[in-house]
C-alpha cells in the first residue's frame, strides 16, 4: 500500500499552516516526520487522518485519488492515527478497549466477552506482547497503553499507522519495547509515520525522513545519509549543539540533604545531598520512584520516615505552599496535567506562584508581576503574542518556558526540574539547557530528573540512578555514559 499527499495547502483563518507540502509513504517503511512545534506536522497528519480538510491538494491511495472527510473514512482506508493523548478508556479492561465501538456480540445481543478476550490474545501473541487482556487500562503504564493502541490498530487491519510522539513519556527500556513492536509491524508490511523530537530514535528506527519548517517541506531523504546534527539543522535552519555543556564550577554550601527518606512502595531509604551551584541528575526507568521522591520533598506527596535538611537545618515540609516559602521550586513532569492551567492566560500562568509573594493585603500587584515576567521573558526567550492570550496559544516549548518562568520569579534556592524538556522541540530544548547552566552559575542548586540518559550526560555534574525506589548508584561526570547509567538503571552495578 502506498499513500501520497500531493501539494497540500491549509490555512486556519489568516494563518497559513501548510504551504504546498507533498508526502509519500509505502507499506513496510518507517518514515520520520520531523519539524519543530508549529511546523505543520500535526496538521498534515490530521488531514491524512480525516480530522482536518485541506484547502488545496490531493490524497492518493495506491495511485487512486481518495477523500477523507471523517476520521472513520480514513480508518476504513487502513490509516490508523495514534494520538499523543491516547484514546483509551481507563475504566475498561484492555479487551473492551480493543473492541471499542465495534464490540463483538453473541446471538442474543450480549457482549461476547470470551471471543473478544480470545481475539485480543491472538493479536497480542502475534505482536509478541505479554499482557493479560483482562487487565484494566488504568493499571497499565504509558508504554503498555501505547502498545495496546498499536495492537488495536493492527486488529483493525491498519496498513499505515501514524504515531504522534509515541516515546515522549516513556523510559529507555519501554522505548525499546515499542521499537521492537514497530519492527514487527514493519515485517508485516505496515507503514509507520513516526513523529518525534528525539532524533537519535529517528536514526535508530526510521528509514526515510521528511522535515517540515514553517509549513514547508524543507528536506527529505534516507536516514542512512544523515546524522542527528544534520536533522536538527534541517528542523531549525541552523546548527544545533550536541556536545556536553561545560561551565565554570563554583560549588558552595550544602543546600539540601536527605537522610533515609522513605514512603513505601514508591521509594525507600533515600539519602543524598546537593550543594549550591551544583546540577544533580536523577535518572532511572519507569517505576524508579524519582518523581514521587521529589514531589515528597516538595510537600506534594507524603513521607513515612526520614529527614530533610535545608541549609543544614531540619525541616518538615507539609505542603507545597510551605515548600515555596523555604525556597524550593518544582517544575513538574507532564506539563498538560500538572504544569499549565488551561482556563488562565499566559500572564497568570507565569505568575501564579508569586501571587501571595507580590501582593498587598491579598490584592495582586500586577505591575510587579508584569515587570518580573518581562525579565523572565527576555531571559528565557519566550515567544508570545499578548500577555492575555490563552496559554494554549503557545507551542510546547514556550509553554514549558512559561512554567519555568513562574518558578524563577519566586527566586528559588533549590530548583527541581522533572523532565524539563518533555514534548519540547530542539531549539527550545537547547534554550532550557542554557538556562539550567546559567541558574547553576547563579548559585542555585538544580536537580534534573530525566528519563533521557543523553540529557543527564549533557547537563549534569553527577547523577544518581534509581531502581525500584532505591538509589542504585552514583555516576560522576568523568564516568558518565549511557552504558553506566543503563546498567545501574536496570539494577546492575558499575564495573
Amino acid at each position: 500500500m502506498k499513500i501520497e499527499l500531493k501539494n497540500i495547502r491549509k490555512s486556519f483563518g489568516s494563518n497559513t499552516v501548510l504551504k504546498d507540502v507533498s508526502f509519500t509513504i509505502t507499506g513496510g517503511e518507517i518514515c520520520a516526520l520531523l519539524g519543530e512545534n508549529g511546523a505543520g506536522k500535526s496538521t498534515l497528519m490530521n488531514i491524512l487522518g480525516g480530522v482536518h480538510h485541506m484547502d488545496e491538494g490531493s490524497i492518493h491511495l495506491d495511485d487512486k485519488q481518495v477523500q477523507f472527510s471523517t476520521p472513520a473514512q480514513s480508518l476504513e482506508a487502513g490509516i490508523a492515527f495514534i494520538h499523543q493523548e491516547l484514546n483509551l478508556i481507563n475504566d475498561l479492561p484492555i479487551y473492551e478497549n480493543m473492541f471499542l465501538g465495534r464490540e463483538l456480540k453473541t446471538k442474543q445481543g450480549f457482549l461476547d466477552l470470551d471471543r473478544m478476550i480470545r481475539e485480543t490474545d491472538v493479536v497480542f501473541k502475534q505482536m509478541m506482547v505479554d499482557l493479560d487482556p483482562k487487565t484494566m487500562v488504568r493499571d497499565l503504564d504509558a508504554s503498555y497503553k501505547q502498545i495496546v493502541e498499536i495492537c488495536r490498530a493492527m486488529m483493525m487491519k491498519a496498513s499505515i499507522i501514524i504515531m504522534d510522539e509515541p516515546t515522549t513519556s516513556l523510559t529507555d527500556q519501554e522505548i525499546k519495547r515499542v521499537f521492537t513492536m514497530m519492527r514487527t509491524l514493519k515485517e508485516n508490511n505496515v507503514g509507520i509515520i513516526f513523529i518525534s523530537h528525539k532524533l537519535n530514535e529517528v536514526i535508530q528506527i526510521c528509514e526515510t525522513f521528511f522535515v517540515l519548517r514553517d509549513g514547508q517541506l524543507v528536506e527529505k531523504g534516507n536516514v542512512v545519509d544523515v546524522t542527528t546534527d544534520k536533522l536538527a539543522h534541517f528542523m531549525v535552519g541552523y546548527d544545533v549543539r550536541t556536545e556536553p555543556l561545560i561551565r565554570e564550577k563554583r560549588q558552595g554550601n550544602e543546600v539540601l540533604r536527605v537522610e533515609g527518606l522513605t514512603y513505601k512502595p514508591a521509594f525507600r531509604d533515600i539519602s543524598f545531598s546537593i550543594k549550591k551551584g551544583e546540577i544533580l541528575g536523577i535518572t532511572g526507568l519507569l517505576g524508579d520512584g524519582r518523581s514521587e521522591l521529589f514531589q515528597a520533598i516538595f510537600g506534594a506527596e507524603k513521607v513515612s520516615s526520614g529527614k530533610v535538611f535545608l541549609n543544614g537545618k531540619e525541616v518538615k515540609i507539609k505542603n507545597t505552599t510551605q515548600a515555596i516559602h523555604e525556597g524550593i521550586a518544582y517544575l513538574p513532569r507532564n506539563r498538560k496535567e500538572n504544569g499549565i492551567i488551561r482556563d488562565m492566560n499566559i500572564f497568570e500562568n507565569a505568575s501564579i506562584v508569586t501571587w501571595p509573594q507580590f501582593s498587598k493585603r491579598g490584592v495582586i500587584q500586577s505591575q510587579k508581576h508584569a515587570m518580573e515576567f518581562e525579565k523572565q521573558r527576555q531571559a528565557l526567550r519566550i515567544k508570545l503574542g499578548k500577555l492575555t492570550d490563552s496559554i494554549n496559544s503557545l507551542s510546547g516549548g514556550n509553554q514549558q518556558k512559561v512554567v519555568l518562568a513562574k518558578w524563577l520569579a519566586a527566586g528559588p534556592k533549590l530548583l527541581i526540574l522533572d523532565n524539563p524538556t518533555q514534548g519540547v522541540d530542539v531549539g527550545a530544548k537547547e534554550d532550557i539547557y542554557d538556562i539550567i547552566l546559567k541558574l547553576a552559575e547563579e548559585n542555585i542548586a538544580v536537580v534534573v530528573l530525566s528519563s533521557e540518559g543523553q540529557e543527564i550526560i549533557r547537563v549534569c555534574d553527577r547523577a544518581l540512578v534509581m531502581y525500584h525506589g532505591v538509589i542504585q548508584g552514583e555516576v560522576a561526570r568523568e564516568s558518565m555514559n549511557l552504558h553506566n547509567i543503563m546498567s545501574l538503571a536496570t539494577g546492575g552495578k558499575l564495573t
Binding site: 507545597t320 513538574p332 499549565i340 492551567i341 488562565m344 506562584v353 490584592v363 513562574k406
Partner: protein, 348 residues
Amino acid sequence: MMKTEMVINNNFFRWFRSKWTEEPLFSTAIAFLIMLILQTLVLGFDYDSLGSWFQSWLNNWINILRNNASVGIIALGMTLVIMTGGIDLAVGSTLVVTGAFTMILVDTGTKGILAFLGLTGFPAFFVTIILVVVLGCLLGSLIGLTITKGNVPPFIVTLGAMMIFRSVTQHFMQGYNPKVPLEFLQIASFKMGNYMIMPIVYWAVIAYILYYVSKRTTFGRQIIAVGSNEKAARLSGVHVHKVRLRVYALMGLLVSIAALIQVSRIGSMDFSNAGRGIEMDAIAAAVVGGTSMSGGRGFILGTVFGMLIIAVMNNLLNLFGVPPFLREAFKGIIVIGAVLLQRKEKMA
C-alpha cells in the same frame, strides 16, 4: 448602495461574532438587553406622560431587584463555589439556621437571648449581626472542612448538611414565635427618599466587592486555578484546601447576610419553606451568567446578569398573566437555552 450595505452588515456580523465568542459576558448582556426591551414594551411606553411612565417603570424595577436581592447575594457565593469545581446545596438550610438564630437573638419576648442578657436596641442589633455572620461562616467552614479534610465530594456533604440544618432548626423552633422589634426591620426596610432599596444596596456592594476579589486578589485567582486544574494549582504552591475552605466559609457568610435581609424584611421566617429550592435558583443564575459547572470558569457580573434575566422573565410572565405552574418551565428553558447559546464551538 446594496453593496455597501452588505459590507456593513458583514462587518457588524463579524464584530458580533467575535464579541460573542471572545467576550464571555457579551451573550449574557445581550440576553438581558432583549429582556429589558421586552419588559419596557409590555409596560407600555407612553410619550404623553413620560414622568409617570418612568415612575411605574422604576417602581417595577425596584420591586424586582429587592425581591431578588437575597437570592442574588447567595448566587454570587455559589458562583465562587462552582468556580472551584464544587457545589453548595445547603444554602437554603443555612439560610433557615441563620435566620432562626437572628430571631432568637433579637427576640424582645421572654426567650430572646440578648434581651435576657439585658441588651436591647441598637447595641443588640449590632451584636446580632456580628454573631449571625460568624455563625454563617462557621457553618460554611464546617462544610468546607468535611470536604477538604474528610475528602468527601461537595455534593454529598452539602446534601447531608441541607437535611441536617433544616431538620434541626424545625425541631428546635417548634411552637416558638419570636417577636422581632420593628427597629430591626429597618435593616431592610429603611427608606432612602421614597424607595425601599437597602437590600439592593447590599447586593450591589457585595457584588462589587466579590467582583474585585475574583479579579484582583490572590484568593480570587486561586479559586480559578483550583477549579481549572487542581493538581497543577497544588504543584504551583496553591494551598488547595485553604482555598476550598475559605470559599465555603464565604458562602456561609453570604447566606447569613441573606438571612438577615429576609428576617428584617418581613420580621419572621417560615422554617419549613424558607429558602427551599434557593440553591437551584442560585445555580441557575450562575449558569445563565456563564459559569461552568466543571469549574475554572465563572463571572461575578455574569451571575448578576443571570439573576436579572431570570427575575425579569418572572416579572414578564407575571405581566403576561402566565399561569404560575408554568413559570418554572420557562426558567428551565432559560437555563438550558443560555448554556446552548454559550457553547463556543457552535458559533466559531
